[in-house]
Structure formats: structure tokens, C-alpha cells
């Protein structure tokens, strides 16, 4: 670690609490993009403040930063490879019928109660109406 003097931790802590208050208050405005910024934008700012100042990454040798950067890169690789197929339910030559059925079915206000229902095979529920081949939630069907 390069030479450093401890920053003013109290000031950083108070700033973090202020940012927490903003992230809680954001959704009360009811504007979607404001909520996204106050929730996720502020989360990134808060995390960066903790990592740089509390974990002292700011003063750490480069190799530690490279180690962390590689794991973030692996995450990005995972995202790039998987996310397009999960976030969309249909593509040029495939459809994910189960995911589409789940989205169409919705959760519904009584979803909690339905989870405690008996799963007696003789009882037909809305869940059972989903085609058997669609039971494997994320198994896409290729025509």
C-alpha cells in the first residue's frame, strides 16, 4: 500500500447515510427514471465510496485492482453470454414458451396463499394448466 493518511471517516459515513436517505426517498416521487437513478446510481456511488475509502483500494497496489477487475470481467462475460436469452422470451428461431406463459399468468395478489395449496394430483389448478413441456421454466423450444 502506498503511503496514506486516514481520511475523515466520519464525513464519509455521514455522506453514506445521506445517500441512503435519498435512495429511500427516490421512489416516493413516483417517476421511474428518478427511482432507477436514486436506487442503482446511488448504490454504485455508495459502493465506490466504501471500496475506495473504507477498504482503502484507493491506496492499494495495482495488482489488487487487477485481481478484482478480472472477476468483474468474468461477470460481464457471464452477463453478455446469458442475459440476452433470459431477458427476452423469443428470438429469431426460438421461443421460451414457459417464460411467456409465466409472464402472461402473472403473480396475482393471492400468490402467497396459492403456494400453500395442496398439490394433490387430482386437483387441477391454474398452475397445472401450463403445458407439460413448458414445466422446465427456462427450457426454450426450438421449432
Amino acid at each position: 500500500m502506498t503511503e496514506y493518511t486516514h481520511p475523515n471517516y466520519r464525513k464519509i459515513y455521514v455522506t453514506l447515510l445521506f445517500l441512503l436517505a435519498v435512495s429511500v426517498a427516490g421512489p416516493f416521487l413516483g417517476i421511474k427514471w428518478v427511482t432507477l437513478i436514486t436506487a442503482f446510481g446511488i448504490a454504485v456511488v455508495k459502493a465506490n465510496m466504501v471500496i475506495q475509502n473504507f477498504m482503502h483500494l484507493k491506496w492499494e497496489k495495482r495488482i489488487a485492482k487487477y485481481v478484482l477487475a478480472v472477476s468483474l470481467l468474468l461477470m460481464a462475460l457471464f452477463w453478455g453470454g446469458v442475459a440476452p436469452d433470459v431477458m427476452k422470451h423469443a428470438g429469431l428461431r426460438w421461443t421460451n414458451d414457459a417464460a411467456m406463459a409465466a409472464t402472461a399468468r402473472g403473480i396475482g395478489p393471492a400468490h402467497a396463499e396459492s403456494s400453500t395449496e395442496s398439490h394433490d394430483p387430482a386437483v387441477t389448478t391454474e398452475h397445472d394448466a401450463v403445458p407439460a413441456e413448458a414445466a422446465g421454466e427456462e427450457a426454450p423450444s426450438v421449432p
Binding site: 471517516y9 441512503l20 473504507f54 497496489k61 478484482l68 468483474l72 461477470m75 452477463w79 396475482g108 400453500t116
Partner: protein, 190 residues
């Protein structure tokens, strides 16, 4: 007692213990990153999950965020005290951090018990599966960190192995960072 060579050498310029913690955290980034990325991509693909997310309690999540931020603050003050050779103060501050961990777990237990009693369980649907898996894995890290911190604090109180105060602190701040992302993902995005 002499120390093993691996404990005292510093091939990279970073003390071995601290380098080991960075390696641990690199693997944790992949573990939590993979889990949270999976949640995020499913959440985008399933807008209906918003109805399930509406049942989480933002105030409880916010309170636990406050608790973890405060425990990180006391952990970094413990590191500062340890660097000044004040083991007793470092130990006391670490005990405050452990108190934060206990509060966090206590609140989480209450929260989960309430949700389960309302029928929201890990098998209810995709949202709740991710909710219990991600928050549960995080809670296990909180518990493990608090236990290790207890051992570090015991030694620090006797002015022994003070460098470990920084090491457990780095881990603890990472646990805090994970929660900083879990909070908006599970409690705010509704």
C-alpha cells in the same frame, strides 16, 4: 513462536494476508455477482415479479442498510486504532461491529419469520427463490464475518496480531458493499 514463511513474505508488495483477502473477495465477486446478475436478468424478463417484490418491506431493508453502514464505520475506526497500536480501542470498536452484525441478523430473522408466516417462502415463485437465496447467502457471510471478528478482537485486546484488524475489516466492508446492491434490487425496484 516463529511464523511460516508465507505469512511474512511480500512478493507483490502487499502483505500476504491482505493479498489473500483480496483473492477471497475476487472469488466472492464472482459468487455474488453471478447470483445478482442472474436475478437482474430474470427480473427484466419477468415484469410480473414486481407484484411479488411489492411485498418486501423497504423500511426494514433501509434500517439494515443503516446498521451495516454503521458497522463498517466502526470497523474502519478499529483499523485506524490498530494502526496506532491501540489494540484495546480496536477490540472495542470491533465488538461494536459484531453488535451491528447481531442486530442485522436479528432484524432479518424477524423479517423472514413475518414473510414466511404470510406464505412467502423460497418455493413461492422465482422472485422469492432469489430473495431467500441471495439474502440468505449474504446473511451467512455476516455470521461468518462476526465469528472471525470475535477471534480477531480477542487477540487485538491483548495487542496481538493487530494487522488482522484491517484484514477482517476489508472483508466486512465487502459484505456491506454486497448489501448496498441487494437493497435496491430486492427492496426498492418494485
Amino acid at each position: 513462536m516463529s511464523k511460516p514463511l508465507a505469512t511474512t513474505r511480500s512478493a507483490t508488495g502487499i502483505p500476504t494476508g491482505r493479498l489473500a483477502v483480496w483473492w477471497v473477495l475476487a472469488s466472492e465477486v464472482v459468487i455474488f455477482g453471478g447470483l445478482l446478475a442472474s436475478y437482474l436478468m430474470h427480473r427484466v424478463g419477468h415484469p410480473e415479479w414486481a407484484d411479488a417484490a411489492a411485498a418486501t418491506n423497504t423500511w426494514i431493508g433501509a434500517f439494515n442498510t443503516f446498521v451495516l453502514l454503521t458497522s463498517s464505520f466502526t470497523a474502519v475506526l478499529a483499523h485506524k486504532a490498530a494502526e496506532h497500536g491501540d489494540g484495546k480501542r480496536a477490540a472495542r470498536l470491533l465488538m461494536y461491529t459484531i453488535g451491528g452484525a447481531a442486530t442485522f441478523i436479528g432484524v432479518k430473522s424477524f423479517e423472514w419469520a413475518t414473510e414466511i408466516s404470510h406464505g412467502y417462502t423460497i418455493t413461492s415463485n422465482g422472485f422469492w427463490s432469489f430473495y431467500y437465496t441471495a439474502a440468505g447467502l449474504h446473511a451467512l457471510h455476516v455470521i461468518a464475518g462476526a465469528i472471525i471478528m470475535g477471534f480477531v478482537a480477542r487477540d487485538a485486546a491483548r495487542n496481538r496480531e493487530l494487522h488482522r484488524v484491517e484484514l477482517i475489516g476489508i472483508y466486512w466492508h465487502f459484505v456491506d458493499v454486497v448489501w448496498i446492491f441487494l437493497f435496491p434490487l430486492l427492496y426498492i425496484a418494485k
